[in-house]
Symmetry: C2
Subunit: 296 residues, 2 copies
Amino acid sequence: MTRQELIDNIRRKQSFLCVGLDTDLQKVPEHLLTEEDPIFAFNKAIIDATAPYCVAYKPNLAFYEAFGVKGLMAFEKTVKYLKQHYPDQFIIADAKRGDIGNTSKMYARTFFGEYDVDALTVAPYMGEDSVTPFIDSPQTPSGSPLKGENCSPSSGEGRGRNHWVILLALTSNKGSLDFQLTEDKNGERLFEKVIRKSREWGNDENLMYVVGATRGELFQDIRRVAPKAFLLVPGIGAQGGSLEEVCRYGMIEDIGLLVNSSRAIIYADKSENFAQVAAEKAKEVALQMAELLNSK
Amino acid sequence: MTRQELIDNIRRKQSFLCVGLDTDLQKVPEHLLTEEDPIFAFNKAIIDATAPYCVAYKPNLAFYEAFGVKGLMAFEKTVKYLKQHYPDQFIIADAKRGDIGNTSKMYARTFFGEYDVDALTVAPYMGEDSVTPFIDSPQTPSGSPLKGENCSPSSGEGRGRNHWVILLALTSNKGSLDFQLTEDKNGERLFEKVIRKSREWGNDENLMYVVGATRGELFQDIRRVAPKAFLLVPGIGAQGGSLEEVCRYGMIEDIGLLVNSSRAIIYADKSENFAQVAAEKAKEVALQMAELLNSK
């Protein structure tokens, strides 16, 4: 999905909500456990119920890997289901990968070649050559070496798709204080350096940043280094961030925000009614978002 | 495996070699491709041939994930094979994971509960709560909340096993220059800060560091912050690091080094003789290591 398509979807739906599919068998409603594939059954129900109120889904790979081969198959089925039934949804594989160049290429082949998701979260610690194999710019002429190496030639998939890296910048957890806010000699903090350097590797058409909602005021600083980039914002809901504050400091003319909520939506209810309650929660957030979009 | 057991294995075998199982179907000998599980067939042959000359194996998850469900099954079979036939080998899952606390717990459950490997590589960018769920100290009394949450209670595996985090500190790739060497106001570089801070979360019995061989002289600085820690050292072989230099600056009384070689050993030959050639390459490195151990 291109940047413009994403913006159009947000304007049309009046929502920039991303629903996090952190599906944990220990938390899904009991009646689903007898299904052949309870993880997929849960995801399908959540997707069908919440799709009108969101523009993106973000399955976190940790939850699927924890269930081994079955979990991975459920992840694959979920991605396929989304692409087939909801082609206007932006699919983010939240995997936080990143390794030396030749290894990152393998991960790129997996997520962009095989699964063909729109975006992958990537950890920046290892620097440029750990990130660039994931960057598949729409400006890259098809058939160029970069494109050829990124996409699995055998699958034939992913050729037309625009792929995004979502780089960790300022995360929403307590541990983000340990290294991400460290100032260098020139007063530049690590998260700012990550964003500034990465602008040399990609652009606003293929690079987004993870910025946690838990420190709303820092969105001003983020916008100084990345005035037009899309930001994926976790930390609303269970982690306590404020949607108003995020929008006040982070929203731009092209919106530039995808705000994620996982647990507060998908585990809002554990009865047979869970999907309906999830839809209500998603709708609540979407209505808030519509107001914020209109007041801007 | 405990630190002392690892040291004993190194002394007994006169080798601190770790063989990286970066198994890529595009690079394995052609005659293996007709096997039912060519990835496992390759790994088994490499392991049987090289085991006398090394003390550790390090499969990189990227290579297994790239082949989807089949790749993951090959990974699992490889780990099981090692545990059953070579219980004195230290098994490192090179996955470079790291996420917010509740998600890192899922990864810990996968790698230490289900697969029950000895060690997992972890990326430090997200700080303390992304790392501590993986730290399963041997000092932790069994049945404590930490232990209970880390290990999958259903599998019953991993209870007696000592689990290690191998934290990325100074990696061997070009991109390591981008952020890892950034100095803060007090002149402390990011890789030094990562090591220093992480000493509050773990100790020399459950925490190692990845330090690339490509910058041998920096091992002196590493030893200032982590005088006794074990270091996992990639970058020998295909990436051009010097074993002598690593040992000169990095070896301690308890050795404190696991030096990894992947491509230079496992892809040394593509004929039907590949395993024997891999064994010769591993033996060459091990002989160099024995000399360096004895000259210390």
